[in-house]
């Protein structure tokens, strides 16, 4: 069993969101970077759990990014995984990134490609589906459970107002969200081991992006809260009904 886990670098969840260059670029000044939480907590940890059950499992991590993504990929390796591949390219659109990952996947011949549900910066939720289409493989999106028996995967995915169980033969592409695994903290041994794990750098294939960011903006600020006295809850209901027309 060979697993490829897609790892993305994202700003920390408390990072200040601001833009530069006439609102065309994210202001990276003072921003701390983390592994995209969905990639780390669910995709990577589930892969590690599968390896713990079957020691013959091989886990590769892939990231598409410049050299400054390396601390993030090392951090991911500290949690687990055997080696990492960095595709040396600046970030482009989802199609560009998915094409690079698909290329790595083709070379490696993986049974399972795992991504997080979405990145917390672009919120595209597109990479998994795009990679699957590029590889002509089935895709299970927003999975909350993944079980394996031989080469058959039983996967639970979220649907509107419930969930659905899918059965599929490997290879398959899966995007992971809450429920898949419990987040872990890397230990000292993992951190030490990560330093010597192979991190291969490969050059990107030539791909035209399909979209581009024309500009960013911030939503308008709220006008301010209207406080209602705790002794006068009926007034809140009146406001919601008559003023906000929300109930």
């Amino acid at each position: 069993m060979k697993i490829l886990v897609c790892i993305s670098k994202t700003p920390d969840t408390t990072a200040k969101i601001a833009f530069t260059d006439n609102n065309t670029k994210f202001d990276v000044n003072g921003v701390q970077w983390i592994i995209n939480p969905y990639d780390e907590w669910y995709a990577l940890v589930r892969a590690i759990e599968l390896k713990e059950k079957d020691a013959a499992t091989i886990i590769h991590l892939v990231t598409v990014g410049a050299a400054d993504a390396e601390p993030i990929i090392r951090k991911a390796l500290a949690l687990g995984g055997d080696e990492a591949i960095r595709v040396n390219a600046d970030s482009h659109d989802s199609f560009y990134i998915a094409s690079q990952i698909a290329e790595v996947a083709k070379q490696g011949g993986y049974d399972l490609v795992l991504t997080g549900k979405e990145t917390i910066d672009y919120n595209g939720s597109s990479i998994g589906g795009m990679v699957a289409e590029l590889l002509d493989l089935p895709y299970v999106s927003l999975a909350t459970k993944f079980e394996l028996a031989g080469t058959k995967a039983t996967i639970t995915r979220e649907i509107e107002g419930g969930e659905e169980t899918n059965e599929v033969e490997l290879p398959v592409v899966v995007s992971a969200q809450k429920g898949m695994a419990e987040a872990r903290i890397p230990n000292m041994r993992g951190i030490m081991a990560a330093r010597t794990k192979p991190l291969k750098v490969v050059e990107p294939i030539t791909v035209e992006a399909l979209t581009a960011v024309a500009g960013f903006g911030l939503p308008p600020a709220k006008a301010g809260v209207k406080l209602v006295d705790a002794e006068n809850v009926e007034e809140l209901v009146r406001l919601l009904h008559e003023e906000a027309k929300a109930i």
Partner: protein, 321 residues
């Protein structure tokens, strides 16, 4: 040329989010001076022609039973055939759970630029750009799409459904349907509950509620308001509530008309997933809780006292005993 809308169904019923994308698609078609068509996959019990009141002129129906089993790979190929049949230059999905599974695949298949999580109509004054949420709702981006065919996945609750007059012509589309590699073996639905992402009203509670045994009053309030229930992350982590209720930056992002937050502090990661709500009500005993800064209405007080009163006041308003 046309705008093609994917009309998502569940158990043969058209989803609420499909009405939003139909209304949206009709508006996009108007902008581009073309007409809007729809595509439905699988068998349905509904009268599809009635969807004409949302502006759609023609619906391609692939009434193949094999499509009652959801496999995004199979669906993608069928929708690509519908896109060809209708000469679509813009294809619209809801950015719901089906849309997230299909739209990226179709984007690759048709080499069509995808904007997922769109929140507004495209700007066609200079090229084709679409506004979408980024940084989990903390900001937005305008995405320029340069490909000939364009795909937009519209966020649920981002565009208001408008019903007018009209009936749609329903035509059978005889599409080739591949054998599915994914077999859906079981579907569980919390019956009677409102799906969180589509809900108009959401009642959400946090650690301030002390324990899962206290959720009865939250559920009662939600039921009264036809609302979905949600929770903060620690509440889901502690298994007080199911994972799919966790909203925020690392949970579900929602944009209901009304979000009622009870005993939630309003951490930046929580706000990220809910700050697109139109009206936010916060009930918290701590006047310094950061959530009040993001709220429209608030009460500083103990949830265990306020919620029963709030519920009673709503019952009075609605005239229920």
């Amino acid at each position: 040329m046309s705008v093609l809308v994917y009309i998502d169904t569940a158990d043969g019923h058209v989803k609420k989010s499909s009405l939003e994308v139909l209304t949206y698609g009709a508006k996009v078609a108007e902008q581009l001076g073309t007409s809007v068509e729809g595509v439905v996959l699988g068998t349905t019990t509904e009268d599809l022609s009635a969807l004409g009141k949302y502006g759609v002129k023609k619906i391609h129906h692939v009434a193949n039973e094999a499509l009652n089993n959801f496999d995004a790979q199979v669906f993608t190929k069928v929708i690509a055939q519908a896109a060809e049949a209708s000469g679509a230059t813009v294809i619209v999905f809801s950015n719901n759970l089906s849309g997230k599974a299909i739209a990226p695949r179709l984007s690759v298949r048709l080499k069509a630029g995808l904007v997922s999580g769109a929140v507004a109509l495209p700007d066609t004054s200079n090229g084709f750009t679409v506004k979408k949420n980024v940084f989990s709702g903390k900001a937005f981006a305008n995405i320029a799409v340069s490909t000939q065919v364009k795909i937009i996945a519209l966020n649920p609750n981002a565009y208001q459904t408008i019903a007018g007059e009209g009936t749609a012509e329903v035509v059978a589309l005889n599409a080739a349907v591949d054998a599915a590699k994914i077999k859906v073996t079981n579907v569980t639905k919390a019956s009677g509950e409102v799906p969180l992402a589509e809900a108009d009203v959401v009642v959400s509670a946090g650690r301030g509620l002390k324990g899962p045994e206290n959720w009865g009053m939250v559920e009662e309030l939600a039921k009264l308001l036809h609302a979905a229930t949600a929770c903060s992350r620690p509440v889901a982590d502690a298994h007080w509530r199911p994972h799919n209720e966790h909203v925020g930056q690392t949970g579900v992002a929602i944009a209901p008309n009304l979000y009622i937050a009870i005993g939630i502090s309003g951490a930046i990661q929580h706000l990220a997933g809910v700050n697109r709500s139109k009206v936010i009500v916060v009930i918290n005993k701590d006047p310094e809780a950061p959530f009040f800064k993001a709220a429209d209405y608030g009460i500083v007080g103990d949830a265990f006292e306020i919620i029963p009163k709030f519920t009673a006041a709503i019952k009075k308003l609605k005239g229920v005993a």
